[in-house]
Amino acid sequence: MDMSTSVMISVTLEKLPRRQPATVAGIDWAQLAVPEARRLRELGFDEGVAIEVLHRATLGSGPIACRIGRMTVALRRAVAGAIHVSTP
């Protein structure tokens, strides 16, 4: 995991407050299964892309719906936990 270059990384998508605009700072690919990582890339998750949490199933540990680029994507919290974001 190469994160030594950035000092802003402090929060993951899982913890990002709802509706707080952010950008993807880095993704911890090693934490993800191979097909999961590929699909994440295919859905456009990449450093520097604008991201925002739209909905979160606050009960228990349901999935998160986030806006990435022009898309809304639903993903599980475990995956969201591997996505580091920085907020302005």
Partner: protein, 621 residues
């Protein structure tokens, strides 16, 4: 003669490929607002403006050339020429969502790099405009090096331009190949994605921020509490509607068949032929066709859910619960479709990535209450359950119907839980899905969907149901008891004797001879049970007037309430459907899993019916 050029529609899921296919060929492929609607290739014919015929392929959507589910594999194989028995396409139409170029252009770049002649359909321009985007197709064409044609597939806008552009590239493959194959396109998804974003930016003239009502709706639809209440309310409304809205048209159909039956009895001379037509064909098939309105109401709701974009929201809400039984929210979409019919539901599992997940979903899909159970449920509930109001507009009959649906769902979850820990054990799979924007369902799509379902249902009634009913009628009618015998005609017949032999096996769970008589032919299709009951009582009680009324009277006379409830429970679980077994065999490549499915479902059915019968008898129902 050289064959017509082969052109394939390719692109991300839900970009409008099937809608374009329909616009280009006049076909009626299923269109729906969620990823994974199309799961196999479909071919159609179209003609270019100069009269040249073209063979067009509609393919499942994919995110890249590296497939992660069985449906995506089909797409990859077809466009790389790896599909057995299929030639390499002569050109491809890459369908992209104009409102989501950042993402869709990445796959477009990969497809262009294949070197086949390409036309890009810049589809859903209307949605891009709704989102405040103004695009520049020429700039996009320059950047991509291929023709780009703006289209609105569902309104047939841009179709002629698309045909023209296609005519331009077919047969001029090399020119395009040179333009695209300049080596700058790599297989690195991240690099491609960055390039796609740059091209999207270059092709966007302006963007005005607008209020997206999709987000406003989602604030409620995806809310952890309100969302689940909404989902339950939608499903409840659906079942309530199925039960109440259909009464008038169903009565009209029933009256029609009753008149027909009475007319046949009045005009034809008494004999075998009259009995075949009145007792077999009209009483049997009529008993099933009466349920057409109900089935259409159910399909109406499911079509609305599919067309609006709500399906993925339901998957999102259900993911937490599905995860608890080892599945993902994604599996909820085929399961919800199985409320209509398990066959397309099982087909739809092809979009599930994980093999074990998919297998589990296939195995539990028959537990979702399909429309073929409606006739059985409605007849028995209508006969034995009083329609008292319970609270508000909710009545007891609707409530019982709803509990039967819930029983199927709970049974399915329970089965998944057990299966995932035993026969389909494996790592838990993830859930990652693109959520489409909401769309207003199009009347035309919904009407076509209803028409197709009505047609399928009537064809079933005219073939498999008619056929099973006639066979049952014959087995029930022969041999005739000798004159003066005090054995009833049914008991003396072949079918009656078979039923009397096996009934002891079902007596512990409260089933009588009439039920075993109905269950055997109902292996072909569930509705046949109703047709069979209609035929049995028409033969047993030849003096009664034709129609549902006398069938209900006979049921009340001969069945107890615990027996009726046990019969309902049987239909919640039992795998009484040849088509489901056949599609399971096809989708799992062998007899092992369908055999397993049939076995475990029969065991469940037997236990559930028995328990219901004994509990109901014990509490004195």
């Amino acid at each position: 003669m050289t064959p017509a050029p082969l052109v394939a529609l390719v692109g991300n899921p839900n970009s409008g490929k099937s809608a374009l296919f329909n616009a280009l060929t006049g076909a009626r492929q299923k269109v729906g607002n969620y990823p994974g609607v199309t799961v196999e290739r479909h071919a159609g014919r179209m003609a270019l403006d100069d009269g040249r015929p073209v063979e067009l392929l509609d393919l499942p959507g994919a995110y890249s050339l590296e497939p992660s589910s069985p449906d995506e594999r089909v797409t990859r194989d077809v466009i790389t020429g790896a599909q057995a028995g299929e030639r390499l396409p002569d050109a491809i139409i890459v369908v992209v969502d104009a409102a989501n170029l950042d993402n869709h252009l990445r796959f477009a770049l990969q497809l262009i790099a294949l070197g086949l002649p390409v036309v890009v359909a810049l589809n859903m321009i209307d949605l891009a405009t709704r989102d405040g985007l103004t695009l520049d197709p020429e700039a996009l064409a320059r950047e991509l090096g291929v023709p780009v044609v703006p289209t609105v597939a569902v309104r047939r806008r841009g179709i002629d331009d698309l045909k023209q552009a296609l005519a331009g590239v077919i047969g001029h493959g090399t020119a395009v190949r040179l333009a695209a194959g300049d080596g700058s396109v790599t297989d690195d998804i991240v690099a491609l994605q960055r390039r796609a974003r740059a091209i999207a930016l270059a092709g966007t003239i302006s963007e005005t921020p607008v209020r997206r009502w999709t987000h406003a709706i989602d604030a409620i639809a995806l809310h952890p509490v309100a969302g689940l209440i909404l989902l339950t309310a939608i499903l409840f409304l659906m079942f309530q509607a199925v039960f109440t809205w259909a009464v008038v048209p169903a009565d009209a159909i029933d009256a029609g068949f009753a008149d027909l039956g009475n007319a046949v009895r009045a005009t034809m001379p008494d004999g075998v032929l009259r009995s075949l037509i009145a007792d077999g064909v009209i009483a049997g098939v009529g008993a099933v066709v009466v349920f057409l309105p109900q089935i259409l109401i159910l399909f109406f709701f499911i079509l609305l859910l599919e067309a609006s974009g709500y399906m993925v929201r339901a998957a999102f809400l259900m993911d937490r619960i599905m995860a608890a039984v080892g599945l993902s929210g994604r599996a909820f979409i085929p399961l919800l479709s199985s409320f209509a019919c398990a066959v397309p539901g099982i087909m739809a599992t092809r979009s599930i990535e994980d093999e074990k997940d998919r297998l589990t979903t296939i195995l539990i899909a028959p537990l979702m209450t399909c429309s073929a159970r409606l006739p059985v449920y409605t007849l028995i509930i209508g006969t034995f359950i009083p329609n008292n109001p319970v609270f508000g507009f909710v009545r007891l009959q609707g409530l019982v119907m709803f509990s039967l649906y819930m029983m199927g769902i709970v049974g399915a979850f329970f089965a998944a839980l057990v299966l995932r820990r035993t026969v389909t054990k494996g790592a838990s799979s993830g859930f990652m899905m693109e959520m489409p924007k909401y769309q207003w369902p199009r009347a035309r799509d919904v009407l076509i969907g209803l028409y197709q379902r009505a047609w399928i249902f009537l064809r079933r009634a005219g073939t498999i149901i008619l056929f099973s009913t006639i066979i049952l009628w014959a087995l029930l009618s022969f041999p005739k008891p000798p004159a003066g015998s005090d054995i009833s005609e049914v008991n003396y017949s072949v079918a009656g004797r078979i039923a009397n032999t096996i009934t002891p096996a079902f007596e512990p769970i409260g089933f009588n001879r009439d039920i075993t008589l109905a269950l055997i032919p109902a292996m072909a299709a569930r509705e046949v049970a109703v047709a069979a009951i209609g035929t049995v009582y028409a033969i047993d009680d030849p003096d009664a007037p034709a129609g549902q009324e006398s069938m209900i009277e006979n049921l009340r006379k001969r069945w107890t309430l615990p027996t009726a409830l046990a019969f309902l429970m049987w239909f919640v679980f039992a795998p009484q459907c040849i088509s489901t077994i056949a599609i399971t065999r096809r989708e799992t490549n062998g007899w092992k899993w369908p055999a397993f499915m049939v076995g475990y479902l029969f065991v469940l059915a037997y236990i559930a019916s028995g328990a219901t019968y004994w509990i109901a008898s014990a509490i004195g129902l």
